[in-house]
């Protein structure tokens, strides 16, 4: 028992935050990282999964391994969620946990995805769940199994069933895409011959705001992800860009040039009640609300080069947040509001993470063309776009920079990833 609890403590420490050495680990092709203690788990095949369109255990296994927290080890699991583990045999394999389940088709055509998790060290049933699902949603149900395992073991919510929006660029063709958090089930939401930038999820995950150039200038549009219905919310004279929702979903921050210059404005989510928020004579853009909704982080060149500032929604002046380097852009706040990720230009463009309590800054990437960092809703991962071996990729990293995973790779330009909220 002691060894595992020890391991969990070590894990908790490394996740909780930054024992601050820059990530020196060499970037590996698919999944890479050092220094993280991984939790050994045995994962059985799901009974009847071979009769279904997707292998649930394969999806769950990939989820758990991609998280960086689990190591899936060989061992014999119960035949399904109703079985009984051989704890001694599992301990001999070095497993701390074991999961098993089934995927039987119901009379109505749905598939009943069931699983159970056991704590091998305690020799205890940790519960499970049953989720009858349509065949088309089978991948999502598999991700729900992964989320449950992650939460029961770590105490934190999993993000396997969340989605990520991003933009691809081919010659003359721009596509706003949405993928599952494992890089599978990619769907095109919008295809245009004009650029699309700055996708931003509504807090409930039902809508995406983005900037379209379809009408030969930048306008802000909100799209219902499920129905595809769109509404234009900012189309003033000049450019309209950089949309961000407030945490309660009622207010949006946007960058408008209607009065000359580029400044941050706040408005209702329907586009009404537009009022200027930032007051510099320079460029102010890329606004992001703090998770408590009380302040807005944004990029401004009021001091010369672009730096990140914070300003209270209630009023008052802006406070400069970033000081290292001459060019810091694209702020993203962790869901607990404690960390700020951004892009810093030095030798290339790199994702940095600042602890807002201590102002300590760490580089978390091994690449030099990083763009658009975005936190996972559980705050444990950051996704960003970069180049690896000359190809465009979407990478995820743990917030300490120790464990990285390549989510997507393409010969196309892949840009502007933004991680969606919990709740699907």
């Amino acid at each position: 028992m002691w060894p595992r609890r020890h391991a969990l403590r070590a894990l908790g420490a490394s996740l909780a935050l930054p024992a601050l050495t820059p990530a020196l680990a060499q970037f590996r092709v698919e999944i890479g990282g050092t220094g993280m203690t991984q939790i050994p788990i045995v994962l059985g095949r799901f009974r009847d999964e071979d009769r279904q369109p997707q292998s649930i255990s394969a999806i769950v296994r990939a989820d758990l391994e991609r998280s960086g927290i689990f190591k899936v080890v060989d061992g014999v699991a119960p035949v399904d969620e109703n079985g009984t583990p051989d704890y001694n045999a599992l301990k001999a394999r070095g497993a701390d946990w074991v999961a098993a389940g089934s995927a039987a088709r119901l009379a109505d055509g749905r598939i009943d995805v069931r699983f159970r998790l056991w704590d091998v060290v305690k020799g205890a049933d940790q519960g499970g769940q049953s989720e009858p699902t349509l065949p088309v949603d089978l991948r999502m149900s598999a991700h729900h199994v992964s989320d449950q395992i992650y939460q029961k073991v770590t105490g934190q919510r999993g993000v396997f069933s969340t989605r990520i929006a991003y933009v691809t660029k081919a010659p003359g063709k721009f596509t706003l895409r949405i993928t599952d958090a494992d890089g599978e089930n990619i769907q095109a939401a919008l295809i245009d011959n004009q650029p699309i930038i700055s996708p931003s999820w509504s807090p409930d995950g039902g809508e995406l705001a983005y900037v379209t150039f379809h009408d030969k200038k930048a306008k802000v549009v909100i799209r219902n992800v499920r129905t595809g219905a769109t509404r234009e919310v900012a189309a003033f004279k000049g450019s309209n860009s950089a949309p961000a929702f407030s945490p309660d979903g009622r207010t949006m921050a946007v960058t408008l040039s209607k009065d000359g210059g580029s400044h941050v404005f706040l408005m209702d989510r329907n586009g009404g009640n537009v009022r200027r928020f930032t007051d510099s004579t320079g460029i102010d853009t890329e606004a992001r609300f703090s998770p408590d909704g009380g302040s807005v982080y944004f990029v401004s060149d009021r001091g010369g080069g672009p730096q990140i500032y914070r300003q209270s929604v209630g009023g008052g002046g802006a406070t400069r947040v970033t000081f290292n380097g001459a060019y810091n852009i694209s702020p993203a706040l962790s869901p607990d509001g404690k960390l700020l990720a951004y892009i810093s230009r030095g030798n290339g463009f790199k994702v940095m993470v600042m602890d807002l309590a201590t102002n300590e800054v760490r580089s978390v990437s091994d690449t030099n063309d990083d763009e658009s960092p975005s936190f996972a809703p559980n705050g444990r991962y950051i996704i960003y776009a970069t180049k690896s071996d000359g190809r465009d990729v979407l990478m995820t990293t743990t917030v300490d920079g120790k464990f990285k995973s390549k989510l997507l790779e393409s010969g196309l330009d892949i840009r502007e990833p933004v991680w969606g909220p919990f709740g699907r």
Binding site: P195, S198, A218, S239, S257, G261, E286, S330, R345
Partner: protein, 177 residues
């Protein structure tokens, strides 16, 4: 070449080389450059026939002072928003065009090179476009005739990842609206 009567009127009332500007298609920036080179040649050849315009000589001479530049594209130095002197004739020519036809409208589209974030570059391109618009306003063009917009780094004129390409992409394009 001329698509509508409004443009024809403008061209008739305008300097000779402006005819090339007003009718240039903007779909593909790289091709536009080639077209403009051709247009410049044509304009020079047909110039005697366009002698109705009283300001033709002035504009043409300034044009000849900057033979490499494009009629409607203004290039910028790295990290700069200042309209260089060599491009002032283009700004003045477009300003004259607009002043002669109060119903005409133009858009100044700002662009940046590929380096940096998309939103910050959008703001930088906006700043370039507004610098050009501001000059035209100083020259007497009405606010309602002008709009400054930006594509940031999204629509490079030239593909490539070196200074030669970047220099071609840091630009403002003037187009009729």
């Amino acid at each position: 070449m001329i698509k509508n009567s409004g443009k024809m009127l403008l061209v008739a009332a305008s300097v000779a080389f402006m005819a090339g500007c007003a009718s240039t298609k903007l779909d593909k920036p790289v091709e536009v450059e080639k077209k403009d080179v051709t247009t410049t040649t044509t304009t020079q050849q047909t110039d005697p026939n366009a002698g109705k315009s009283t300001v033709a000589t002035t504009d043409q001479s300034t044009k000849l002072n900057a033979p490499i530049t494009l009629d409607r594209v203004i290039y910028f130095d790295f990290d700069s928003y200042a309209v260089k002197d060599e491009f002032r004739p283009i700004v003045e020519a477009h300003a004259n065009l607009l002043k002669q036809s109060s119903g005409a409208k133009e858009v100044a589209e700002g662009h940046t090179d590929e380096r940096g974030g998309s939103e910050y570059n959008l703001a930088l391109g906006q700043k370039r476009a507004e610098a050009v618009v501001q000059q035209m306003k100083v020259l007497g063009v009405g606010d309602s005739q002008l709009e400054a917009v930006s594509y940031g780094k999204e629509r490079p004129a030239v593909d490539g990842h070196d200074e030669a390409a970047w220099a071609k992409n840091r630009r403002v394009e003037l187009r009729s609206k």
